[in-house]
Amino acid sequence: MPPRMDDDLSRAQSSLGRALGRARAGEDRELSQKVREGGEALANIVCGLLKMSRVHAADNRAFEAPAAELSRVLGVLVDLLGTVHLVTVEDQVYLNDVRVRAETKGGARELGGELAKHNVGGLTFHAPLDGAAVRALVAAFAERPAESGPRSALQHALALRGVRSVELAPRFRFRAQGENERAGADPIEALRRALRLTEEGYDQLAAGRVVNPLPLRRVVAEILEIGPQVPELWETVGDGLPHASHAASVALLALLVGRAVGFGSAVLQDLGVAALLHDVGYAQLPVDVARGAEGLARHPGEGARILLRQRGFNAAKLRRLRAVMDHHRDHEAPAGSPSALGEVLRLAEDYTTILRVYAGRVSPADALGAISRAAGRLYHPALAQVMVNVLGRYPPGTLLELGDGRFARSVSPVRSPQTFAQPLIRVYDLRTRALSGEREDLALAGDVRRAMPG
């Protein structure tokens, strides 16, 4: 059927043209260029200096020019990115998760080998280095690696030489897709990474820099693969700084609700990233403004302004901006209800905030019950019910008095409609506030006498 095939090809050409146009509109040419060029230069100079240290003493004048160049390049990168992570993985080199070209010269490609002598896989620079610090770094690397714990020994040596802003990372290998499933995914590690990335992102934005959404997206994708209902995630979410824990809680809950709504994976990823960044507007408001009602009113708009620093046009960025701008808008806002993602964030945010603000005085079940009551006025009614359905009668963290007189905390969201009121629990010692090591499944045995605040 030649005409149909021709149509196929015409449509394909048109669709490819649009896709390429979209992709071009989505790139941040300037930032990418700077990161890649700077990363390549940094990797080459570091590698060159380490090689030179084998033939020259640290005080040799031959180090002057490359040390000065390293100071300059690093200064530019720190200014641009904040903390600079230079990581080698097998024969590849990454700068803050952006792969830099290591094929052109021997330098960057051999960096991994140079670092590996001290069991080091990467360098994290928290601040620029002056010439003396660069020499101290090179001199420390030139020392014979310690027999045991060479990386820790080198880190100690750096500290003794006054180089405290350089952190040594372990050696890395590529992680294959599906490896997590085969080896057993580690939700705790993933959640902790999410917390760390959220803290770093907030830090970056507070310093007026641009946040890199790619690592955030990767960790959200990983959490989605693990499943946002997995209890370990909910049990780890409090391990971060308060704002990061809050953001991660909002993200977990938003993902749980979003998945139940039936959003596709791309939208869920966008929702998760938006949730991790939703309060960044506070990062640049003056402290006196940020506190209280004015901060509450201004931080969504301010958040959008900060997120606009990231260049490039793409659906993810649009959804992120939309959700951040909307996350404090009521369902019955006079100017119209917020976007779907904004509605989800609004629910997750308020639920999490109630628990944070009224910690110990309002139980998660009561917080959810209040939100459910306000559905229609403040919250999208269907979404509020979805949230009830996914969190259950005893949402994670609820203090329970069990039928047998023991106390426990619920640690899981709803696993099925049948277990709506039968979460997984850990027995709780009211005196020591310790939780049992083992989880119990109320669907298998036991019952709840009452839910309590606290």
Partner: protein, 573 residues
């Protein structure tokens, strides 16, 4: 659409990589078919580096990729490729090898973390196309910040293509060394103020919690809002744009705001990538509706773009002399530089299109006067004249700038146009370039320059005018007249003294007049005609009576002119 270009030669795997079992060298029929698919895929993906997606070559390569894939899958079933740094293998046989990093499909896939790629027989054309799209983006060197190949491939949620990819990296140590004190690092982190996200809204007493099925009809509209389809994306983009502008106005974001301007440019690019003029129009309307003065103007100014111009031109008949009414709102988005580019002599633009483009450019005045002035010397004289007149008419305060540009042109008619522009200029007229024209080889130009100096000059140019009459050569009478009049206009008293000496030079009866003296005398007659007072009249009358021929006629006609009041200084009484 681009004209069909000749097909690029087929890369020869055997010659590029002698050791390869390529399409021709592969052993089994399955390996040969697999090699053909990869070859077609890599050629199609690379074609976007060289050609516009609408090009006939791209079309042909797409067809080849589709047909080869379909045939191979129908005949051999699933094709599983192991991805290595420079080669790909199928069922243990190397079926693709390319050592050139720029060209190698294997290298790009491997570098981006893909380690195994399987195409299943159930794959449809849409999915094959999506795979090609992801690879084509990588080949064209687009550096995406939000996505990488692996996230793109995952997001695609293929049903007929499976992948194994590395995703990030993980510590490689079996016995990890102790990590740094994370708490110490965290203590340095920025944090929001205590009590952020408060005060909370007053909430009702908790209600009972019960599981209730939510009808899909209530959730479907929410999913539709976040759909990836073009219309939903455009709606989302425009709603974000509207609210950002509102927020920027409400919260008085600093203006200019490069981030906001960049966002709107990117938004325009994104909408144009879809070829969707309607959405661009909606964007334009919402910017205009915002008010916000400077902010709105800054945003609009940043949106002028060649692609919008091309899209608009494509929607207008070739012979249209003006923009249809429905296209007029796009005027601010039509890149002025792009329009000017297309007006260049060698741009190959048809006459009809040139007329339309000229109208577009003129419609952007006076706002875009700078852009027009910067390019003025590059156009044909006729167009330069038209543009210059338009700038002067719509931005009179730029007349001096127009004149400066024109006076530097080689074409005398343009220099003349420059003087005309200066004549209409407001404010201080630059006199130096006009003075320089007094020695121009072009006669009308010299006359006009002298007239202009007379009209706009002051005593500072008297010496220049006098020097122009003292070159030792005889000047054409109209030049001399203009110079004489100008002298009288800029400095009548001093000029009168010169004229006295020039009208009746010493020794004229003994030696006759030199060429210079004849010129000066001619100029003095014309200049005296401009001087006020009866003395000037008397002087001209006396000279007329004492002379004959041309000089007598010149004196008499000057007197007539003077009496008609044509000069600056009509006789008193």
């Amino acid at each position: 659409m681009d004209p069909p270009a000749p097909l690029p030669p087929l890369p020869a795997p055997a010659s590029a990589a002698p050791a390869v079992a390529g399409e021709r060298g592969a052993g089994t029929p399955q390996a040969q078919a697999a090699a053909g698919v990869l070859l077609a895929l890599s050629r199609a993906a690379r074609s976007f580096v060289l050609y516009d997606p609408s090009n006939a070559v791209v079309r042909q390569l797409l067809g080849e990729y589709r047909d080869r894939s379909r045939a191979a899958l129908d005949r051999h079933g699933a094709l599983a490729f192991e991805v290595r740094p420079f080669e790909m293998a199928c069922a243990g046989e190397v079926v693709y090898r390319e050592l050139d990093r720029e060209k190698s499909l294997a290298f790009r896939l491997f570098r981006d973390g893909v380690r195994r790629l399987t195409i299943l027989p159930v794959v449809g054309w849409e999915e094959l196309l999506q795979l090609l799209q992801i690879l084509a983006i990588r080949y064209t060197g687009v550096r995406q910040q939000e996505e990488d190949t692996v996230t793109l491939l995952r997001k695609a949620e293929f049903r007929g293509i499976t992948l194994e990819a590395v995703e990030g990296f993980t510590p490689a140590e079996e016995s990890p060394e102790p990590e740094l004190d994370e708490k110490a690092q965290r203590a340095q982190r920025a944090q929001p103020p205590a009590g952020w996200d408060t005060p909370l809204q007053k909430l009702p007493q908790p209600g009972p919690l019960a599981w209730r099925a939510v009808p899909d009809a209530e959730l479907a509209p929410l999913r539709a809002q976040s759909s990836e389809d073009e219309a939903a994306l455009a709606d989302l983009a425009l709603s974000v744009a509207r609210d950002l502008l509102a927020e920027a106005t409400r919260s008085a974001w600093p203006v200019p705001n490069p981030d906001l301007t960049a966002f709107f440019s990117e938004l325009r690019d994104g909408l144009l990538a879809e070829g969707n003029l309607l959405s661009v129009r909606r964007l334009l309307d919402l910017i205009r509706e915002q008010g916000g003065g400077e902010l709105r103007d800054t945003v609009l100014r940043g949106l002028g773009d060649a692609r919008t111009l091309d899209l608009v031109l494509a929607a207008v008949p070739e012979d249209a002399a003006q923009l249809p009414a429905e296209m007029v709102p796009f005027l601010p988005l039509l890149g002025i530089d792009a329009a000017l580019d297309r007006l260049l002599p060698d741009a190959g633009t048809s006459d009809a299109r040139r007329r339309l483009l000229l109208r577009i450019v003129l419609a952007r005045l006076p706002r875009e006067a700078d852009a027009v002035l910067a390019r003025l010397p590059t156009f044909e004289p006729r167009l330069v004249r038209e543009l210059a007149r338009a700038v002067v008419a719509r931005a009179p305060e730029r007349a001096s700038d127009v004149a400066r540009q024109l006076l530097a042109q080689r074409d005398p008619s343009l220099r003349l146009e420059g003087l005309a522009a200066l004549d209409g200029a407001t404010g201080v007229v630059p006199l130096r370039p006009v003075c320089e024209l007094l020695s121009d080889p072009d006669l009308p130009l010299r006359v006009r320059a002298a007239e202009l100096l007379g009209k706009h000059g002051d005593a500072s140019v008297l010496e220049v005018l006098r020097a122009a009459l003292s070159t030792g050569r005889e000047l054409p009478p109209e030049v001399a007249e203009a110079l004489g009049r100008a002298m009288a206009q800029v400095a009548p008293i001093v000029a009168g003294r010169f004229f006295g000496a020039w009208l009746e030079p010493k020794g004229r009866f003994l030696r006759g007049l030199s060429a210079e003296q004849r010129t000066q005398q001619w100029a003095a007659v014309a200049g005296t005609g401009e001087l006020p007072g009866a003395e000037a009249e008397k002087s001209l009358q006396g000279l007329a009576e004492r002379s004959e021929g041309e000089l007598r006629r010149h004196c008499l006609s000057t007197l007539v002119r003077r009496r008609k009041g044509a000069g600056h200084a009509a006789p008193h009484g």
